[in-house]
Symmetry: C2
Subunit: 427 residues, 2 copies
């Protein structure tokens, strides 16, 4: 791949004010892995550059999946008429225990990586399991794919059920550091992320120790927050001194700081105090509307978070969510925001399409830096969507073609993907 080249197609991207910008039949200049301008006609000065021509295709910024469990790919869609805490014990924990078997891990992590590679996603923040070997295997596969990811070896030393529990905090912390040592120098696109499963799975000393490791290594941290009323009650009992679930994380040091922000999945029941605390630490909210509906958690006030200026992106949350397809998550975000407005708070207007697209691209992407837009200086992540087969009766506007594609992604073909200006091998 040349370092400087031009992508030609129907370009759509968000700006930092969450406006959706469009340029039909436009040209995106890529220089050394970054976007260097969009042009309605190709300037004479660029006419000698290599041209990647996707006429009549949609060219979008690659999307970011802020929260998903690679280790639950094998149980997606199963048992989704159960609620969170039951579902975890019945489906999730037994499935994750299988990842002590490297050949099983290879099979499922390969399927996960291939499907992620062929979708609209270019960046993802991922849970593995507590098994070091299979976590490294997943990281190797992701690195080879060319996607950019954060991957967490999961910590849990309490209540995980048979064969899925670390013995004690001290061992867990030592194993975590050993895993970090083994990651060192091994990856370009794959970063380890500290991953306490959630407070119910981790004792206080493990929580504190993990925050210390994150600080020591300059790493980030991911976990779950305020997903389900039963879970929140449980946290109240486990950490009675904390003012809220979010405050418990803060007390343990898990929220870190805005330079290395944590990602917290869900925040369905985060009230304004918890939201303020999240914003103070620059924490990223991974909004997972499909999962929240599937396992009856509720609806996170995503539109409120977004408009308040919180960092928020979308998460597919396999296996509470049933697909890695972020366009489906976009649909679910819009659907659940409509219901939130209708049933919960008529002051919070439903998410617009532009706001939802922003969350899927720049909103989540900004967790990785200047990512998720075609604005100048952003890393050149792009996904090329061939929407020829979406059966449009009459000529659609560019915006309508994007809407149609998001609502019927299985009628579309991802015909090319770029990450940091490098074309991925989709064959």
């Amino acid at each position: 791949m040349e370092e400087t080249f031009v992508i030609h197609g129907d370009l759509l991207w968000s700006d930092e004010d969450r406006e959706l910008l469009m340029l039909e039949d436009g040209y995106l200049l890529v220089e050394e892995g970054r976007c260097a301008g969009v042009f309605p006609t190709l300037p004479e000065s660029l006419s000698e550059l290599p041209l990647e021509d996707y006429s009549h295709c949609l060219v979008l910024p690659g999307m970011t999946d802020l929260h998903t469990h690679a280790s639950q790919y094998g149980i997606r869609g199963l048992g989704l008429d159960e609620e969170l805490l039951v579902w975890l014990k019945k489906y999730t924990f037994p499935e994750e225990a299988r990842f002590s078997d490297l050949s099983y891990a290879k099979r499922m992590y390969t399927a996960f990586t291939e499907d992620l590679l062929h979708g609209w996603t270019t960046r993802a923040v991922i849970f593995a399991t507590l098994h070091t070997e299979s976590t490294l295997l997943l990281m190797d596969l992701l690195e080879k794919s060319g996607l950019v990811t954060c991957v967490g070896r999961v910590n849990m030393n309490r209540d995980g059920g048979e064969n899925l529990c670390e013995s004690d905090a001290e061992t867990a912390l030592r194993d975590t550091e050993e895993w970090l040592d083994r990651c060192k120098g091994r990856y370009t696109n794959t970063t380890p992320i500290i991953t306490p499963r959630f407070i119910p799975s981790c004792t206080d000393d493990l929580m504190k120790g993990l925050s210390e490791i994150a600080e020591k290594y300059g790493l980030r941290l991911q976990s779950h927050l305020s997903e389900n009323p039963g879970e929140i009650e449980l946290v109240k009992k486990l950490v009675p001194a904390a003012a809220s679930y979010g405050a418990a994380y803060e007390d343990f040091g898990s929220l870190l700081n805005p330079e290395t922000p944590a990602v917290m999945a869900h925040c369905v029941y985060s009230d304004e105090a918890e939201e303020a605390l999240i914003m103070k630490h620059g924490t990223y909210i991974a909004h997972c509307p499909g999962s929240n509906m599937n396992i009856a958690s509720g609806i996170a006030p995503a539109a409120r978070f977004l408009r308040d200026g919180a960092h928020i992106g979308l998460g597919t949350d396999i296996g509470g969510g049933s697909t890695l397809a972020l366009p489906v998550t976009m649909k679910e975000a819009m659907q659940s925001s409509c219901l939130y407005w209708r049933l919960c708070d008529s002051n919070v207007k439903p998410l617009s399409f532009a706001e939802t697209f922003y969350m899927a691209t720049l909103g989540g992407g900004s967790y990785f830096g200047k990512v998720g837009s075609f604005l100048k200086g952003y890393e050149a992540d792009a996904v090329v969507i061939d929407d020829t087969d979406t059966r449009n009766g009459q000529a659609l506007s560019l915006l309508e073609r994007l809407e149609r594609s998001v609502y019927t992604p299985s009628a579309c073909r991802v015909s090319a993907k770029y990450v940091r200006g490098r074309r991925l091998n989709l064959s």
Copy 2:
């Protein structure tokens, strides 16, 4: 096709008590278009019959789509950040007006019919538009597909916007009878259904006249009921004498009787009085959860209706819904029932998977008679699903394979379909 034959595969079907029955590696005997028994091993007496072998595929009863608009296939997924009454004026009515152009109608109705044919659906209840010629064109295409459908030429003589309004009730009624005359003797699998769009679109005399035509011809009727608060307010103003929206239909004679039950789409805001009235007339509720979320209508208490013994099935409601795929509607039914339980009424437990499967098959199918099950005497509608590519990590149970397929339908292939024992041509 032989009149008597055997289908071999992994069979799943609902019984009339909404239990999900399963027979792995089983045999379904089809005699003269009807199911005549299922067998765990092929009885000696049947061993000479032709065998349609789908080993390792899921074989399900064909699904019924109780409510969809063929004429809105061209706008699916567009403008779904608008609410019902705005969306109708901005997107729906202008699109439907295009169906005065037969070449446009042919293009879109062909796309609609092909996509319906290749999905999990074998029966459907469909809105066309107010144009007689293009409605007949749609009926011809559907007849040729082998699917069994009811198709309505839409009546609307009020407030349809430019180029989409019948001139007056008298003309509308005359045109409707002319359409019915032209249908006579033309179809085996395609039945005309009387279709007042909804009360806001039809004057009182048109509503009454349409009920009379339905009675005169022994036909059924379809419309929309209690979808959106704004719409309900409007009906209150338009028909001030009626006790409720449903009662207005009853007063106009639209609900007919249990022998020729009406289909009413949505019933999001049907309270217990309206529910009782619906049940008295044997009316079918077309539950359209995707559409109800997309255009911010709300959540219908589908689980309550079902458990109360009302007739209820699923509708994709193109273009409020964005896909003809009934498995997606099943997912949305489960998702929205979880939210109904969580946010609206904790006495109404979420739909189980088995209940949802029942609605998609027997629940809606019973509108067409003995349809939607492999029980003895049911018409032999079946859909064969190849789920090889759903990436199962370990051996799944038969139920889990069905769940996985419903949640990831785009990973499945519909490899054969039967309607009334006749194999459809999917090529």
